[in-house]
Subunit: 75 residues, 2 copies
DNA sequence: GACTTTTATACCCGAACGGGAATATAATTA
DNA sequence: TAATTATATTCCCGTTCGGGTATAAAAGTC
């Protein structure tokens, strides 16, 4: 599993909005299965669906510099 | 066609690197067809492939605020 | 600890992605 | 303008996504 940035963003935004995956699926017009997969960081999802989810929060997928997690840093 | 941010970024980065679509396809391990589709802004591409392309420039798909183009602005 | 809600998996299957390769069209260059 | 190179488009087709639904597991509540 990877692609945490988008997965984490969607999950946290959804929770912040007080929605369950099921509710979010309905409101966004996406399938529950997809919402789950997306939040799990599934890498092979389709970009249009990802954007459909991000659009719920005024966001979209854009290029961003890859950044290491703190744990991976060289001391 | 939509998803210009990623499409434009890949196209311009590739050209800046002095690569043709064919060369870029080979180096990135992606299909020529996909590279073309991506640069055309095809929306239904798979995220892992998009990231595979962006990774060539140290980038990845991340959530970003949707921004209108200047032309769409209300005067 | 029993009950309710939410999240995680599984299955079936139509729809569509993407690779490779061939060809057409457009853009560069000599 | 002819020749060369790059980009766009098309075909065949194996692989896989994602919807819907059912169920299991986990998390949260009283």
């Amino acid at each position: 599993m990877r692609n945490d940035r988008i997965a984490v963003f969607v999950r946290e935004s959804r929770k912040a909005a007080g929605l369950t995956q099921a509710e979010f699926a309905i409101r966004s017009g996406l399938g529950l299965r997809f919402v789950h997969d997306l939040e799990q960081g599934k890498e092979t999802v389709r970009l249009d669906k990802v954007n459909q989810a991000l659009a719920m929060f005024g966001m979209e997928a854009v290029p961003g510099r890859i950044e290491r997690k703190a744990e991976d840093e060289q001391p």
